[in-house]
């Protein structure tokens, strides 16, 4: 066994072992109630790994492995969209207005990014001559672009609107953001450089990024939620005055 294969296996197995740790932490802190889609995603990733690893270990199952990889990848992409939706719901939890208007803006961003993704798939499909992996790369490239764009849009919204993130939500978004941006770069390069050497190298980088992403999730989920400062001595009248004045403005 050469060093490259050892490194590939270590980078493939380690993040999934850590995902097991993440499941335990999510259960202990009862965070699966707050983030059910993220919890389902983590469980799914572990199940996907077990299936693919078994197929990888059995000789002569290359074709089955390829089909399983494609099918599970599509579901994984769908679940990631669900996680982003969950993150955005949590971010806009404190405002009824944002639940409607900011989410509508996010839908517009999604639509725009989807159009760009489809245009890229049509006009820059890459080298897909008889190689299924190239086709998968194009799909994954488009999905990574949309997801990365959505997470950046969420960060921008929170910055412009003065929204406060909860630590665990921010950690989930950050980890997913790093993962999707590395995915975007690697799958974009995969469509252009489809040789096996290149694909193996890109795989190493993707699994490495996944390890970083899972570590971030564990770190943020383990960290205690900061107790936010609250206004304790503000007279009620003061806040009420501000409200009345703003409402007078908005009613006109």
């Amino acid at each position: 066994m050469n060093w490259h294969k050892v490194l590939s296996l270590v980078l493939w197995i380690t993040p999934h072992v850590l995902l097991g740790v993440l499941v335990v932490v999510l259960c202990k802190r009862r965070l699966y109630r707050e983030f059910p889609v993220f919890f389902a995603y983590v469980l799914y990733e572990i199940a996907q790994f077990i299936l693919l690893f078994v197929l990888y270990s059995i000789p002569g199952t290359g074709k089955q492995y390829a089909y399983a990889y494609c099918a599970t990848l599509l579901l994984s992409i769908a679940l990631r969209f669900g996680v982003i939706d969950e993150v955005s719901k949590d971010l806009f939890r404190e405002s009824q207005l944002l639940k409607v208007s900011a989410r509508r803006s996010l839908q517009c961003v999604t639509g725009l990014l989807l159009v760009v993704g489809v245009l890229l798939a049509v006009y820059a499909p890459g080298d897909n001559s008889g190689r299924w992996i190239a086709g998968v790369s194009v799909v994954n490239r488009g999905a990574a672009m949309v997801q990365c764009g959505l997470l950046l849009a969420l960060l921008l919204f929170s910055r412009f609107l003065g929204l406060s993130w909860r630590r665990s939500t921010f950690g989930i978004a950050l980890g997913l953001g790093i993962l999707t941006s590395v995915d975007l770069a690697m799958f974009a390069l995969r469509t252009a450089f489809a040789s096996w050497v290149a694909v193996e190298f890109f795989n190493l980088l993707i699994t490495g990024a996944y390890l970083v992403c899972v570590s971030i999730w564990i770190g943020y989920v383990l960290a205690l939620e900061l107790k936010p400062a609250s206004l304790t001595v503000v007279p009620h009248d003061e806040v009420e005055t501000w409200n009345t004045e703003l409402q007078r403005l908005l009613k006109d």
Partner: protein, 187 residues
Amino acid sequence: MISTTMIAAWTLVAVAFFALVILLYVALRSRARRFDLEKADLEKAVQAFRSLDIEAFRNLVDSAEEAFLRDNLSPKKFREIKRQRAWAALIYAWEAGGAATALAKIGQAAQRSSDPKIAASGVQLTENAFRLRLQTIGACFHLLTEVVLPDLRSPSLPPLVDQYERAAETLFRLGRFSSGRHGLISR
């Protein structure tokens, strides 16, 4: 010759790198700064309210004034003046937006108060501040269009800018309310 796929690939790599840098920047910044209300936020809001001069802003976006300038100035001079006026109004809108953001943070902190009355008021305050912020973002886009395309005719003020005018007026009033006090926050 470089293929479309190659151009697309390297463009996306650049985009991904840019996204990664932003994410890491935000993560490092959030480590340095606690996710809570800072006194500076409130001071920033109050200062922004005080700096808003609604009469000056109204003058800058007044369509009658614009029509007068269009009739009495050469097209070249008009474009120059219009750009300057739109830019000044844009700065006003930007400042008001910053104040609204700070106000939203104050509102969010008030929501966490143990006093149910303050918490309920915080909810309202946050909603109104977010609404105000969204309006100022729209106003900024509108004014930016005027900076880029000064010849674009806008016979009457669009509702967006009208709303901004009202927003700025309220913020100005709020600024005056706060000016005599020693700050609203204590921990």
